[in-house]
Symmetry: C2
Subunit: 336 residues, 2 copies
Amino acid sequence: MRISEVQTPALVIEGAIAQQNIAAMAAALPGTRLRPHMKATKCTSLAREQVRAGHTTFTCATPREVVGMVKAGVGDDLLLANECVDSIRLQEMAALQDNALITVAIDSEETLQAAHAAGIQHVLIDVNVGLPRCGIAPELAGSLADKARSLGKTVRGVMGYEGHLMMVADHSERLAKVEACMTLLRSAANDVGGDIISAGGTGTYNLHDNTGVTEIQAGSYSLMDTQYAQLGLPFTQAVFVIGTVISSSTQWAVIDVGLKSLGMDHGNPSIDGHAVWFCSDEHTTFSPNEGAPPKVGTRIRVIPAHVDPTVAQHDAAWVVNGDDVIDRWAIDLRGW
Amino acid sequence: MRISEVQTPALVIEGAIAQQNIAAMAAALPGTRLRPHMKATKCTSLAREQVRAGHTTFTCATPREVVGMVKAGVGDDLLLANECVDSIRLQEMAALQDNALITVAIDSEETLQAAHAAGIQHVLIDVNVGLPRCGIAPELAGSLADKARSLGKTVRGVMGYEGHLMMVADHSERLAKVEACMTLLRSAANDVGGDIISAGGTGTYNLHDNTGVTEIQAGSYSLMDTQYAQLGLPFTQAVFVIGTVISSSTQWAVIDVGLKSLGMDHGNPSIDGHAVWFCSDEHTTFSPNEGAPPKVGTRIRVIPAHVDPTVAQHDAAWVVNGDDVIDRWAIDLRGW
């Protein structure tokens, strides 16, 4: 099958580039030093490539990701790096604890009790290291771990996501800020115990040599987007949304890629050699930097500004090698 | 079932409010004066309510919407108000022409030929009235209609979407600009012939009394969003995304509603009585205007900034009356 035969809009992954990204990360953070994050890709087929590269532990943002990974038989140590008080979903995960080591993040008495009531055995203390989101205050982490142990839980350690630092442009400033956050996390880890100190993401994966962190939670690196590309990381854009020109005038052209096939929170997507004017529900209007707009029927590659919510809009990705389609990967972990 | 039993994030429609919106629009634009747009709701169950209110003609943005409406038996006159050169999808629609009157918009020789090759019988000329997107230049519309007729097509008329005017804040300025656009459309209609002059949207539905337009394509009015609410229209917010607080600190709380359950192109969603700080993939961080942040487990209603791409993120909507769930409507026309 040729890429020209795929109906648009279509999520397309350059297989060789994704493999290069996966290999580059596996060289930098081999085996369990990386706990690849499934929220970016929501695709067990891609996770299998990460297993082939040597990773066995995975990070998930939703119970559906955890359950889907276990059912697909991918990974043997799955961390729900997010809080959950949904008893049904916690029970679904608990029912799979014989099939994989499942660990659930907690940051409060309520999330501990919910996990406990559902029969979750392994927990990890989520620590706030500066991003105003989930995570317990570092000085309270030890106390929550004690409560968890008093309920018979196994406390595997701590995590602390420095998500507010991913896009700090200057490398040395980013490094200094990451190290300050990780001082908080190490302090909490001392109080909590356990073997795991988990942190990081694609934007800070290479800043943890001296932070004491045992593993990095990065996901976007395998596919990339225009925002992460600004950081000059050794990963290359591997994912695109392909559209077809459906209308063309003397000044602009329109493709069938719009708000419903793109994540828009980081702004407009990009098109090489063209200026993107705006996106509508089912369209993107754009014009070439030089020459006439492309004709009706032309295929156009759109580069997403934010990979995670873009991938989540699609039910499958077409894996290509040049113009040849070599596989179709279901985005089987999307939804909730 | 109670709304508190629904797993989150969940798309929720206040059934009575949606009915009021549908009734208010049907009073203003009864029967075929409104051609409800399915791109906003992508839900045949909601379209059935619009049929009960007297509408029989519908606007679609994608072939999937057209095919889904025919297969659901909703509406008897379906307009694909968008260009398509996908031969497979055009053939899928053509195969259903005995079941409903299906009309496909064209704005070029290429889109005419694609529709013709697939066996589409009814076309409508999409005219550019100022929005830089699809649509042929008004002065060329008659010539394209002639070509269509020479191929044996039935040309039903014209459409011209003044989408660039939907959010012009001042009513009289909006009215004047709409009338100027519609002068272009009427001129094209004179050249094209046919019975239909189709235009408009929720933001301009009440500005067409003297424009010569025969029908309005509005969809968002039934559910509404925070952006359209700024226009002071007689429609009330009927759709929400319900989340559960999963983490709460002294200064903020976090719910399980994020970029993947919201359309973000119009910016952050709103929460009554609270300030939204930011949205992440699976989270929204927010704080109350007064008092302490809500506790873990609290249900929170999020008001989307843009209804169309928000609805398209969900596979179903829960229809509620107060705290009671009265129905579950599949968002069965999403995807492509």
